[in-house]
Symmetry: C2
Subunit: 337 residues, 2 copies
């Protein structure tokens, strides 16, 4: 099969540009025993990919130059030499930024069949996929909120943030989101059911953000799900209650250059906070439980989400650059069929 | 009894000065039922007192102006109207910066009888007291090191730091201290048995400290017991292994003024660190187990410590100011008899 692919052409200096990517076309190789050919319907774009584009130390190997960009995909099996998969099966995997992938299906965890009768295929890249599991793991394992506590989440209209808030609401918490702009904030409170949402574009400095947090979190903050970093983190820390928990999931604010400092780390001591970073792929043992809850909530319509869909593989670089700037609304996908 | 006392006269702007304290003399009141009069032998000086001198938000109420400075004391009962205490009993309590204290001995936890047959009385203010318990709680509950892991502790020659390192050594860890000056470092490796000690005065900038950490921690750092903050914390974070744990016990570097930022909090995510603050007085349930281990180690000579003893109550302010500047060597005490 002719297979359009997007490679990492060069490493970004600061914000990524379209030049950092290169669109090429190859042929899919013939299948060996145990392999499966998957035609991708959707590619997932996620902030973690920005970290992989750097050369420096991170939790994962850097994305190699000249190779297909890493990425989660859903699609259907078109050819199979593995007894567990048949043409027409819907599958989720890490197919990368390309139209087709050849997967060693015998390797556990690389390819998973999914049921699309009550859950849309694309949701397996969002609320019932890696972003949903990320929300679930950070919320239940690090924040571990009790009913009545206040949980704040940044990037609240995104795939992870939206799930964090709805899972916390389901656990009886007061939930306050932080998002960029009145439209996103309206969606977070109106459609996702958060108790409040702070527009960080209208509260860009520490003082203003802190005031907004005081108004929306009158009893302080017990748990914070961190997707952003910078001023928002500094303000939240000033409002954290004793024994508060901060799950560090992302630091978009620092992806493109100099790290952004934490203004007052002594608050960790003063307020006896726990601040913990995690990577969802290191908690695979929890995924079944997480996806079971998330899938049930999505199937029954109690977990809502929104998708921004770019059309065609060639649109992926621009869509990804927009994602890092917060231009997407909800889960950013690229439709490939 | 005539009772010399030191009061907090004014709040410091930046570093404390002798003017912030006032020496007065009062009479001890007659005892009511259930009360005990204690004559203090030693007063403990500890960095946490600096935080109490500020008005701002902290984990404890600020030290009120015009009242006796808070502080741990050991001494002997000289008069008792409580059946559990008799004249001559050695006791540890929070008597404050004064020669005598009147204690409501019926209130649980205020006064504790101690055995001085195998453990010197002053040790109950250090290795077998609050500093020792602080070391034990932070090490065992937050860092929770496994044999073979590398543990780093700042202020390593101090009462807390010295105990942290020796407790970690007893658990089979590689232990690296950070202390100020060759004399303290020689004591940390020679007498306390740490594997290495870094002189932060000779490695004052990030690059130099990081180089020293690379040399002394060839396998990276798994646990860090934080007593200082600032550049040392930044350097340690760059050297932490995945899933490392940082116990935030003190931030001396930030006591006197502007908070000192953490340069690169995204390392918490990148290295999946857990950074947790704690206050030993909130873990009283663990003290019996902690003091049992610490007392056994001190009695058998396996836990070593050093004391710097100032003579007489009037010397307490200068000794305390020196403590904050690292002029003490080991546990800072004031001898009152």
């Amino acid at each position: 099969m002719r297979n359009p692919q997007i490679l990492l052409a060069s490493r970004p200096a600061g914000e990524p540009t379209p030049d950092n990517f290169r669109l090429v076309e190859t042929e899919t190789p013939p299948l060996a025993d145990g392999q499966v050919l998957v035609r991708h319907h959707y590619l997932s774009l996620d902030p973690y990919m920005r970290g992989r584009m750097n050369e420096g130390r991170s939790y994962a190997q850097p994305q190699p130059l000249g190779e297909v960009m890493i990425g989660g995909t859903v699609g259907e099996v078109v050819e199979s030499r593995h007894p567990g998969f048949a043409p027409g099966d819907h599958v989720v995997g890490m197919g990368g930024w390309q139209q087709y992938s050849v997967v060693d299906a015998a390797q556990p965890g690389l390819l998973r069949k999914v049921d699309t009768r009550t859950i849309p295929l694309s949701a397996y890249l969002g609320a019932v996929g890696m972003p949903g599991a990320t929300a679930w793991v950070g919320l239940t394992q690090i924040i571990a909120p009790k009913a009545g506590e206040t949980v704040v989440v940044s990037a609240a209209s995104g795939a992870v943030g939206g799930a964090v808030g709805q899972l916390a609401k389901a656990r009886g918490c007061r939930v306050v989101g932080i998002a960029g702009g009145p439209e996103k904030c309206g969606y977070v409170t109106g459609e996702l059911g958060f108790d409040a949402c702070i527009d960080h574009k209208a509260n860009g400095d520490l003082k203003s953000m802190l005031k907004a947090l005081k108004e929306t979190c009158p009893d302080g903050i017990d748990g914070y799900f961190e997707n952003v970093g910078g001023v928002i983190l500094d303000a939240v820390m000033l409002r954290m209650n004793a024994f508060g928990r901060i799950a560090m999931c992302g630091m978009i604010a620092g992806y493109n250059g100099e790290p952004i400092p934490m203004a007052n780390p002594s608050l960790i001591l003063v307020s006896r906070l726990k601040v913990q970073g995690f990577i969802v792929s290191e908690h695979m043992n929890l995924w079944p439980e997480a996806l079971k809850e998330l899938g049930g909530l999505v199937a029954s319509g109690r977990l809502k989400y929104r998708e921004t869909v770019a059309e065609g593989l060639a649109s992926a670089p621009e869509a990804f650059i927009g994602l890092l700037k917060g231009r997407n609304f909800g889960k950013q996908l690229v439709k490939l069929v």
